[in-house]
Symmetry: D2
Amino acid sequence: MKETESSLLLADYAASQGFKVTMGVAQISTAFIAEYGSGRPIIGIMGEFDALPGLSQKAIASKEELKPGAAGHGCGHNLFGAGSLGAAVAIKELIEAGKLKGTIRFYGTPAEEDVGGKIYMARAGLFNDLDVCLDWHPGYETAASMQSSQAIVSYLFEFTGKSAHAASDPWNGKSALDAAELFSTGINFLREHVKPSVRMHYVYKEAGNVPNVIPDRASVWLWIRDSKRTGVAVVEERVMDIAKGAALMAGVKQEVKLLSGDYELLVNEAGAKLLHSNLQLLDTISYTPAEIEFGQKIMKEAGLEYIGFKAAPKPLEPTRPDPDGGSSDVADVSWVTPEISLFVATTPYRAPWHSWVVVACGGMSIGHKGMLYAAKGLALTMVDLFENEKLRQEIRKEFETRKGKEVWKALLPEGPPPQ
Amino acid sequence: MKETESSLLLADYAASQGFKVTMGVAQISTAFIAEYGSGRPIIGIMGEFDALPGLSQKAIASKEELKPGAAGHGCGHNLFGAGSLGAAVAIKELIEAGKLKGTIRFYGTPAEEDVGGKIYMARAGLFNDLDVCLDWHPGYETAASMQSSQAIVSYLFEFTGKSAHAASDPWNGKSALDAAELFSTGINFLREHVKPSVRMHYVYKEAGNVPNVIPDRASVWLWIRDSKRTGVAVVEERVMDIAKGAALMAGVKQEVKLLSGDYELLVNEAGAKLLHSNLQLLDTISYTPAEIEFGQKIMKEAGLEYIGFKAAPKPLEPTRPDPDGGSSDVADVSWVTPEISLFVATTPYRAPWHSWVVVACGGMSIGHKGMLYAAKGLALTMVDLFENEKLRQEIRKEFETRKGKEVWKALLPEGPPPQ
Amino acid sequence: MKETESSLLLADYAASQGFKVTMGVAQISTAFIAEYGSGRPIIGIMGEFDALPGLSQKAIASKEELKPGAAGHGCGHNLFGAGSLGAAVAIKELIEAGKLKGTIRFYGTPAEEDVGGKIYMARAGLFNDLDVCLDWHPGYETAASMQSSQAIVSYLFEFTGKSAHAASDPWNGKSALDAAELFSTGINFLREHVKPSVRMHYVYKEAGNVPNVIPDRASVWLWIRDSKRTGVAVVEERVMDIAKGAALMAGVKQEVKLLSGDYELLVNEAGAKLLHSNLQLLDTISYTPAEIEFGQKIMKEAGLEYIGFKAAPKPLEPTRPDPDGGSSDVADVSWVTPEISLFVATTPYRAPWHSWVVVACGGMSIGHKGMLYAAKGLALTMVDLFENEKLRQEIRKEFETRKGKEVWKALLPEGPPPQ
Amino acid sequence: MKETESSLLLADYAASQGFKVTMGVAQISTAFIAEYGSGRPIIGIMGEFDALPGLSQKAIASKEELKPGAAGHGCGHNLFGAGSLGAAVAIKELIEAGKLKGTIRFYGTPAEEDVGGKIYMARAGLFNDLDVCLDWHPGYETAASMQSSQAIVSYLFEFTGKSAHAASDPWNGKSALDAAELFSTGINFLREHVKPSVRMHYVYKEAGNVPNVIPDRASVWLWIRDSKRTGVAVVEERVMDIAKGAALMAGVKQEVKLLSGDYELLVNEAGAKLLHSNLQLLDTISYTPAEIEFGQKIMKEAGLEYIGFKAAPKPLEPTRPDPDGGSSDVADVSWVTPEISLFVATTPYRAPWHSWVVVACGGMSIGHKGMLYAAKGLALTMVDLFENEKLRQEIRKEFETRKGKEVWKALLPEGPPPQ
């Protein structure tokens, strides 16, 4: 939630290009909308720009911080934001030139890695009037995505007991830490009794100060995931009982705070096919000997095998019954409007995600080539979407079918995100 | 609860001596009362005769079963019963001879080690009209006891879940075994938060059949002890919550069954002093060279140091604030009528209790000498109690003071003991 | 391991048909081989006949024990044995008539549900000279199987500590039960760190006698499964460390006993296709109104929906990357010789396996029809195998490819199975 | 370890009084020695001056921070230091005046609540040449102490595993947090098997950052206490095995860091009697109506009953077999030289220690009266010690007897205390 500069940079650029910019939407100061044109269709495109803590890294092939202790774009969101905006600007020029009719809308969506800015924006209804929305994400390969993502929910379990001197009268204390530990033990016993697609993982936020004192406060931060929101909900019920049980065991009180949660992503095959067909029109990214050397070196530094680059768009893959482990707030947008997602290689194949390697590649030509490729692919696809109403209808119909009767409800606490 | 023969042997002997015998009191077939004389005072004396499973042992100085797999008197109750009855018969003779006035009543009290026969007899009101009650217990030293015993309660915690195939759909199962394990984990976390005098110990009665099947049944047998009943009650409350918490965690049902429980023993100092003064009138037990050799050999066989015999009565010791670890259903009698307890050495000093060593010594002259000593000491004390009303009043007054306003309530399930 | 009668019945029948019978092979008294003919090819066919404990059931549509407390054929192995032998006898007649050349060999394979009789027989080399082996298994649908089964291993973890009186000196005890509980806690924490295809499940075999005594013995019976033997081996390593860690934590000794283990089944697609094509030649099983009523009633009694019968052979299904949860010692045979497996419906669709429902259906016409169908399907397939060398070569080649360089090693303790 | 100002204030005052001051002894910048006189006897007196974090409090009867978030003298060490130095100055004046012969040495001993400054000073040999050492401690009653304190040891257990994405490949991670939790579970299971006098208590120092990542680092800070160092050592051995076991279970590495540890305090009855007899010569502290009102109000604010003040010296109490729960680095000095300890009431009776109440009282006349009383009592006692060689010999002899053959060894890491 500290991406103020990145946010302003993008918004200013959009404004300079003639977009109408609205800052601070959805009660988030760094969230903004930049719109151009008028009337239907309204095509949206999203750009992230948040970084990951402690991943500051120079754009070189060995690990070295740019600014010690600072954050870095370990998930490649610097490219994401700029690439998407680039595509939006291309469309704007066509509208301006009278070659396309309708509205292009760029979403500056902050805090994907943190509170999930898009969920707040979706809850605020900001995607409701879109015909289609697009996004792209840097990766180690290139594909029009046919894959869903895991539904997830993030809770904070807080236990409140009673302090006592741990040596002189521990029997007068009620240990909140005991409750937290019993809670996590219960979670681990539950693992046998959840579907194999479920993931639960936790850390302790508070776990005592000094051994001398029976801790009267402890808290556990837990994420629950499954292939679908409905699967997560089943586990949630059990987890709530485990928290109550743990509190009962330790004789303490407990409170649960919903922090945020994503649904599973609703794939849109019609949209993915359209995107895929447009990727075929682009030249595959090629790398210079220097870039290849950079890739070899950086993978070696990371202790990994260098397998080369995989920048050519992969064939469309059937949607897997269970998505790979990972969640995204793009998923929540996909419940409000049809979503088309692109992945573009911005690193060597199998580069370790959320690491300094991704930061380094994103800061030099390897990443930049990916960004330009993404911008082109998205722009071409948007042109089709603006021009072809039948395509839009097909996409919408699939969206409605997949959504079915389930009602999306933002998994968020009330009010704006915590600062 | 299988001491039918021992029970009949003692009852028959009492009847043959002219006692009026009532078998099967308190809904226990092996519990009986043998009474002689009439009117007040009524002095009671208790005799146990139950054995411990798997302790069959010949009366020799090395470990050898008398009857393989059978029970043995590892707590010396064979001596206890016969010794007490001997004392009762001595009093009967004095009443018969017109030298004492009143009633002598022998209690054949079964199942001390098991369900606690005396608690059932006390609940049935069988001790209510006594002036004083006496008992003795074999030990490795001799003393008029000034010590209390731990209050205890025994519960069975039963968990009922839902079976499922552990490989194909464990997510459809609710594991009762998980609940049992979480329960015991909760108990172990509780240990930090109970007074140092508390003891909790458990075993699993049911813990699954085959790994293939998520267990739908599991149970934990738990004993809770503390220096006083009130202390046990504090812990009980926490333990009940832990059971509920564990069931909640595992998504199963739970039930708690009270099996039995003893209060702490109410010491009677006036009574102990009287007993102690009478022990001074007896010759201290002396051992023959053969007995000493037997003692040396048996302690060596048991892997222990032979320190000799300590048969001389110990000085009266002040009551310790917390009794040593151990409980007895004599304690429940002590809440209904003043109780005087004698310990007499029937083994070498520091012999391991509840072991074959105690069985072996109890079956030969070392044990028999102790039994006779006990019979004499108790008989002398009873003579005083019959003759001296002031003494009885003093004992009664102390009893009332120590009991205070607390109301004794048998810690038993309804109905007769389980067969 | 108590299937003596079933074993003799089958062996006697085989002998009466002219088979050469060898009883008590592989050090198992109920395991036998019945052979007819001479020379190559040698085609094997397996028959199980063991039952499941506590599943005695009459052949009626509501739950009623045939012989209270006795075992029942809850996995349908009564049909399995007789059906396979029927097919073998059919082949024998063709050899006898000179219409086929070679050897037919029936394997009486006991104890699939228990120690895994086929693993012992495979270790003894009894399948080594086969060209192909066949088996069938009752089910709730009919299919030439293309599916693997889970690899599994069964261990007993034994902990040995030191007893002490749980109230008077628990600090002198080393609790084997603590170790067992800490072991299982470790297993539950490990669940997060194994592949989703892994299954681990356990029960306690020994978990203390009386609360009074710190348990000096405790044991946990654990099964580990994964899609492949190599996956199980990865988990085994971790589990062994957990056992060592638990023993270290509780200050006790531990020992691990391998009880038995299966590999994953090596599918043979060429064999499955052959079998499948032969099933097309058979009339699909049809059910009488009475049988349908029986099916409806028995499913209702079992609290399940009646969906009908699915006796028509299913289309060949591609092998799933991870098999369903379940293991079989047929799998071990499939590592020694190419294996072809048939499932035939002997119950209504979705009947609960390992239950009285399966026992009841297996005892009446529904089951018998399935058995005859299986016998025919297997016999037809064997005729092809005897006649068509090219087919045998193709099957063998696929077998060699799938096995690769991995060496099968019976997962068994040394010596004969425990009685 | 931030008591720089307090340290300098005391040292400067001592220097201004003519003491020879040595700053920064024992590699601790705030530790100092202030000495006056020469030759034997050498009598030491200790002054603490460290505060407790987060206890800043004005000298008023309701809770209000003096400096928000700052530390406060919740254990009354501000009084301790000044009181002791006052007594030392009194002795110095008598030496200066030629009325006493020998050396008075004041020890400025920092960080009692933290790393245990006196242990460092004792390890540096700074108490070796003393004849006797004295100290006093503020309390809620006044007594020449006859009580020991618990031996203690403080360890940091660090676990190092391997990170992985908790949703996409948790099976590639080795969770250090799992190890920490299993360690603490092992500790809780151990509680049954330690003597009732043992205390173990812990907090987590590191317990994961974000749920997304399998934690590769976790640590537990554990204190172990018992009535004697030898008892702690027995438990330490078990705890080390539990840490190893936990690491083995989670597949991670572990390291143990000794932070510090105290022995039990060696009581010196001869010294205590001398001190007690001198207290009889002083006027008991009396309180003004305003002070009494302050006491009433502050106890009420703290939610406690006001029972009055107990400033009159208590009769000498026999040393309890097990000290109350609590430890002190004074204890380590008592193994190097005979130690005489005084407690003086500086708060109302039963004021909650380590709380703002103690800080408030210590900052106004109630605390100051206690400090002056302590200074007088210690000074009178030191006069006797200087004058009476026989007394010193008696004290020394008792010291040698109690210490016996046990060798004191500072429980500290090598080198200076961590900053």
